[in-house]
């Protein structure tokens, strides 16, 4: 224990270790916060998407701080909802009721929005309302959309309305809706826009609500992916997953390797020989290939992968290193003394030999963690990642399948990569410093 305290004091001499350990602690803190604020089941649900979870996020939006790199003011998502007000219902003499809603918003950005969408929700018993929509630009121009008869929910993606686009003869609907001129080939118009909703309700209790979403080009701290999911969720949740995976793999492998090696070396004879042979065969086995096979034919669950990884890494060549140490320990005088005062084999192995070796393990253990983190990421990039859990590797896989780099969505690739690198570097720096601490021969002072 005092060795630990003395060692921690020594860490002061190594700035790289301090940096590394600080970052590790920050990552751990982040993991803790993430797990507490977004519970696991919630994260899975969010990541699965569907059910309109991400509907109001723009797709493929860059992170908000991207604005710092752009001279143009990039648009953020604007949502206008009739539930916020601005709707009137007037009774008509023929028994119908007329709904008039004006969805107004200010647009002062320098770039077009990515999409425009409209949600209509109607309450009725039998007869659907009849709705007319008019888009009014700041220069006074008005574009009429097609009439609609919405059901309980009606999702109208204005940006994907091909007929409208053809009718307007515009290159893209965003241009048509936000640019000067009927085709929108003029300059971008800044000012007040309005979507006028005129609906006819045929029943006395019917009602109509409308929500207009003008999707921006930047969103959130980390941007969004093609399915509109906020990358921040995956990045945040990727942290505890990565750390847990790396830690558990490192711990499992190390503990098992150590125990197997200690027991084998102590018992000697046939058991030792068997363990050594298994280790040698295992060194020849292609680990990644086996994991790929397990992923393809059996299960892609993260926890199954973790278990398989530990099993495959247990008989690592580390066993040979530990064996050398244990062999020399076996002859140590204090072990001999223990046998003389009647200590049994279990006690000697677990209380006298293994504690001696543990300080030497710590640097190797810390340096091994990023290796396992990268392994998980690699498996995900190969398409064998866990389909449900958001991990950094999964983000990279999604980016790859969506051709992110070709299309210029660099943030999608750079953000998980940066986190992976940060994790790797911080553990490695800590590990190297710990190594210098625990292995006096590497010291420079």
């Amino acid at each position: 224990m005092t060795a630990l305290r003395a060692g921690l004091r020594q860490l002061r001499h190594y700035p790289s270790a301090l940096i590394g350990m600080t970052v590790v602690l920050l990552l751990l803190l982040l993991s803790l916060l993430t797990v507490l604020t977004i519970p696991y089941s919630e994260a899975i649900r969010l990541w699965r998407g569907g059910e309109g979870v991400w509907d109001e996020n723009p797709a493929l939006a860059r992170p908000t701080w991207f604005q710092l790199f752009s001279t143009r003011k990039l648009p953020q998502t604007i949502i206008v909802d009739t539930r916020q007000g601005g709707k009137t219902i007037a009774d008509q003499p023929d028994g119908t009721r007329l709904v008039n809603a004006s969805l107004r918003f200010e647009f002062h950005y320098d770039a077009l929005p990515s999409e425009v969408g409209l949600w209509l929700s109607a309450t009725y018993k039998e007869a659907q309302p009849f709705v007319m929509l008019y888009w009014r630009k700041p220069d006074g121009q008005e574009i009429a959309f097609e009439e609609r008869t919405p059901r309980q929910t009606d999702r109208y993606f204005v940006s994907r309305d091909e007929r409208l686009r053809e009718r307007l003869q515009a290159r893209s609907l965003e241009e048509a809706l936000f640019g000067a001129g009927t085709r929108g080939d003029g300059a971008l118009l800044r000012g007040t826009y309005e979507l006028a909703v005129e609906g006819i309700l045929f029943e006395p209790d019917a009602d109509l609500e409308a929500r207009l979403v003008v999707y921006g080009k930047i969103h959130g701290l980390a941007g969004t992916d093609a399915q509109r999911r906020d990358l921040g969720v995956a990045l945040l949740w990727g942290t505890p997953i990565a750390l847990t995976f790396g830690l558990l793999a490192a711990v499992g492998t190390t503990i098992f390797s150590l125990t197997i090696s200690a027991v084998g070396t102590w018992c000697g004879g046939r058991l030792d020989a068997i363990i050594q042979r298994i280790t040698e065969v295992n060194a020849m086995l292609p680990g990644l290939t086996l994991l790929v096979m397990i992923g393809m034919f059996y299960s892609r669950s993260l926890w199954v992968m973790l278990l398989a990884l530990i099993l495959l890494s247990m008989f690592s060549l580390g066993i040979k290193t530990y064996r050398a140490i244990f062999l020399s320990l076996k002859e140590a005088p204090y072990i001999e003394a223990a046998r003389a005062y009647g200590a049994g084999s279990w006690r000697i192995v677990f209380r006298y030999m293994i504690p001696r070796v543990i300080p030497m393990l710590i640097p190797a253990f810390v340096t091994a963690i990023p290796g396992f983190v990268f392994l998980e990421a690699s498996l995900s990039i190969l398409g064998l990642g866990d389909p449900d859990i958001p991990t950094w590797g999964k983000l990279l896989f999604d980016a790859y399948t969506n051709e992110a780099l070709f299309k210029g969505y660099y943030y999608w690739v750079l953000e998980p990569a940066a986190l992976l690198m940060l994790t790797g570097m911080s553990f490695a720096m800590s590990g190297f410093a710990l190594d210098r601490m625990f292995n006096p021969r590497l010291r420079t002072a």
């Binding site: 003394a337 003389a340 009647g342 504690p355 001696r356």
Partner: protein, 329 residues
């Protein structure tokens, strides 16, 4: 074997079998080769010899760390050479071990209290009694004030203090016999006397039998009653300390005594007499008497063909040497 005999060793052999090579014979290292002696309760004997003579192997066989290849060991009448694990467990309480390297003998990651708690907890002593016994034993080895030492780790102690902890650990289970393998050879000259005196005091206070393994013949006179001289895996001479030092019988003992200097300026003037050659290989010992290739008094035809039996030319002074073939065997 009368009932004051604590330890009786009869024809003890400890041979280490070498692993079979694919071609060629395997052999055996004959570390202890037919050793017989009795040790009385409360008696201190010194086993003297050079490295490779088998004295450490003898010590470890007596401690129960090695199984003898042949021969018998009786402790208080109980057979130890063929003991089952329960008897061995009892035996380990009766024999304490003090090793040569005081630092190596202590686990570096445990403090003094936990080091001393280990043997007690192995043998089922309960926690409350453990603390008391630890204090008792630390006071006996004079590591006082106890509070100063009980939380320290081995590297914080001096060599002498470390050795005291080792002795304390050996005394924990109230043994009747202590085997001390070169207990002071790694300590400074001025500390050695302290430790040897401590052992002497413990011996008389608790009627302990002690087997000292050492190569320092000069100190033997002060700390034991009898000496055994070992050579080539055998005890070539046994006697009372004063007798043996004044009148060594075996040529090897004589050569050993001649080779050891006392601090005296006149030593620089003359060369010391040393027998030629090297100690014998325990794997392929010379035929007949082990010492004959180096012996100045060798009788060709006899010493090089037949192993001498034990003779007793003087009372309580025995030797394995053909020179005394006309005395009682």
């Amino acid at each position: 074997m009368d009932n004051s005999t604590l330890l009786a060793v009869r024809n003890l052999h400890t041979w280490y079998e070498l692993r079979q090579r694919v071609f060629g014979r395997a052999g055996a290292v004959r570390a202890v080769d037919d050793v017989t002696f009795d040790l009385a309760a409360g008696e201190a004997i010194a086993v003297v010899g050079e490295s490779g003579c088998g004295k450490s192997s003898l010590a470890k066989t007596i401690l129960g760390l090695y199984r003898p290849t042949r021969g018998e060991i009786f402790f208080q009448g109980q057979p130890i050479h063929s003991a089952n694990s329960q008897t061995l467990r009892w035996y380990h309480r009766q024999v304490g071990f003090v090793q040569q390297d005081p630092y190596g003998a202590l686990p570096p990651f445990l403090n003094v209290r936990r080091i001393l708690a280990e043997p007690l907890s192995i043998h089922g002593i309960r926690k409350a009694q453990r603390e008391e016994r630890i204090r008792e034993v630390l006071e006996e080895v004079k590591l006082v004030p106890i509070a100063d030492f009980i939380t320290k780790f081995p590297h914080m102690l001096s060599g002498g203090q470390q050795q005291r902890v080792v002795i304390a650990r050996a005394m924990l289970l109230r043994p009747q016999l202590i085997v001390a393998d070169e207990p002071v050879s790694m300590l400074d000259a001025s500390v050695r006397v302290e430790i040897l005196e401590l052992l002497r005091n413990l011996q008389s206070a608790h009627r302990l039998a002690i087997i000292y393994i050492t190569h320092d013949l000069s100190a033997v006179r002060h700390f034991s009653e009898r000496i055994f001289v070992m050579y080539g895996g055998q005890i070539v001479e046994k006697g009372q300390v004063a007798d043996l030092l004044r009148h060594p019988l075996h040529p090897y003992t004589q050569a050993l005594l001649r080779a050891i200097p006392d601090a005296d300026a006149a030593n620089a003037e003359t060369d010391r007499e040393v027998p030629p050659g090297e100690p014998p290989s325990l794997l392929h010992p010379p035929p007949g008497c082990r010492f004959h290739p180096r012996c100045p008094l060798v009788t060709p035809g006899l010493c090089d063909t037949q192993e001498p039996p034990e003779f007793e030319p003087e009372p309580l002074h025995l030797t394995l040497c053909w020179l005394y073939k006309d005395t009682t065997p």
